[in-house]
């Protein structure tokens, strides 16, 4: 339920297509991608890794949407702060 970390798939092992080497911030490990057979994992994909297994393929579009929302909130906040700063009542 917990420690899952995103990693990038570097290669699928030729003799064992259920295993892939992933890169997590420069650190590499072979993990089992057998739980994602339906997704068709290929090098360049990002996956969520938990105890040596890939549990989910990270949806980059959703990640971007999440970031966009956060950026939007951040921008609105800054705009409001700026407005507060710049507004003068008297």
């Amino acid at each position: 339920m917990c420690l899952g970390i995103p990693g990038e798939v570097i290669e699928i092992l030729t003799d064992r297509p259920d295993l892939a080497r992933v890169d997590v911030s420069g650190v590499k490990r072979a993990i089992n991608i057998g739980l994602l057979v339906e997704e068709g994992i290929k090098p360049g994909d990002w996956v969520l890794i938990h105890v040596g297994f890939a549990l989910s393929k990270i949806d980059e579009a959703e990640a971007k949407a999440a970031m966009d929302f956060l950026e939007g909130i951040g921008k609105a906040y800054e705009d409001e702060l700026a407005a507060l700063r710049d507004s003068q009542i008297v």
Binding site: C2, G7, V24, G26, K28, R29, I49
Partner: protein, 366 residues
């Protein structure tokens, strides 16, 4: 906007419990276990308790009490530093070194941070029956090379052999003697509010390298141990910066353990900025993967220095002048309150306590 940042004190009940905890922390140490466990060797709370309750209790004398990295002796007018260390690393050979250079560098560093010029080392070997002589030769050759690089001589030693199954191949014990040339007084008791905290380079490299080298975790990384003699870096610091209060060799238990030891010994607060602590990308990646915190992971060639606040920039410059200190950083400040605690200003902007762990950081699943 009213956030917890502006809220009043906790409820009376909560405060009572917090006070009780503080009193318990200050109480006399006692070892509750009947048998030694691995936690007693990890450098964290269990180790501290063992040292206080068993060793200090029995051996107590004014020279031992400061419990610094080396003891300060004065013999017939000569100011000496004396230290001892044992090396039980597994595996014996790892990227960046082996148990041999670890032994030499570790001992040299304990002397250096005590303000002493390292001079002479002893080397005692406990060898396992069946251990390959070729491996022993490699280790010993590394020790000679490390000793040459550090300008020390190994002047006496001992050898024992134990039955197959004991000693994990090879254990090494060392003692080191140096001349205390730094005129001032160094020691954690001198640390005071306003002091700056520096670290000489990226943390956690040795510990993560060794953990990965054990091969059980199947993780590959381009990491090497940071084992190195820091006596020149230290000399450069002491030679140019007058306000150095104390230095420590960040080994087992990592930087966080040292900060906690100092906070408790000097009864001050140490406040660290997480974003200022240098951590290499791979150490970070491996730590995230395993769920451990690099602040608690061993280094073998890094020092933590406490200097007078006004000298912080000079100290940083002095460290950076030496190749081993290229990525030195000022990571925090000493404050008066809350005494005995280490606080971390997180990357995220919150603040939390950075306490001593009970034992080794355990890789988490969750």
């Amino acid at each position: 906007m009213s956030t917890r940042q502006e809220v009043a004190a906790p409820s009376e009940k909560e405060q009572q419990v917090l006070d009780r905890i503080e009193r318990a922390r200050r109480r006399r140490a006692k070892v509750k276990e009947e048998r030694i466990t691995l936690a007693h060797g990890s450098g964290g709370n269990a180790t501290q308790t063992l040292i206080d309750a068993i060793f200090l209790e029995s051996f107590r004398n004014p020279l031992l009490e400061p419990l610094e990295d080396a003891a300060e002796l004065t013999i017939a007018g000569a100011r000496l530093a004396l230290t001892t260390d044992s090396f039980v690393v597994s595996p014996l050979f790892f990227p960046g070194g082996n148990i041999g250079d670890l032994a030499v560098n570790g001992t040299v560093n304990d002397l250096a941070v005590s303000g002493a010029r390292p001079l002479y080392l002893t080397a005692g070997f406990i060898l396992e029956e069946g251990f390959p002589v070729a491996d022993l030769t490699t280790i010993v050759d590394s020790m000679r090379a490390a000793a040459d690089a550090a300008g020390v001589s190994i002047v006496t030693g001992d050898t024992k052999v134990v039955q197959r199954g004991k000693a994990d191949g090879c254990y090494i014990n060392t003692a080191g003697v140096g001349l205390r040339e730094h005129p001032g007084r160094l020691g954690v008791a001198t640390v005071r509010p306003g002091d700056a905290v520096l670290v000489s380079g990226p943390i956690g490299e040795h510990g993560v390298t060794v953990m990965l080298a054990r091969g059980e975790l199947d993780i590959e990384a381009d990491l090497v141990s940071d084992t190195a003699p820091v006596h020149e870096l230290v000399a450069g610091l002491l030679g140019t910066v007058p306000g150095v209060r104390a230095m420590r060799d960040a080994t087992r238990g990592g930087v966080a353990t040292i900060l906690n030891e100092v906070a408790r010994a000097a009864e001050v607060a140490v406040v660290v900025d997480e974003s200022a602590v240098p951590v290499g990308t791979e150490v970070r990646g491996a730590s995230e993967l395993l769920g451990i915190d690099p602040l608690y992971v061993a280094c073998e060639g890094r020092i933590v220095a406490f200097v007078d606040g006004s000298c912080a920039d000079d100290a940083l410059a002095a460290m950076r002048r030496h190749p081993l200190g290229e990525r030195a950083a000022i990571i925090g400040r000493v404050k008066e309150d809350p005494p005995g605690l280490v606080l971390l200003n997180t990357v995220f902007g919150g603040t939390r306590i950075c306490d001593l762990l009970v034992g080794d950081p355990l890789p988490r699943i969750c």
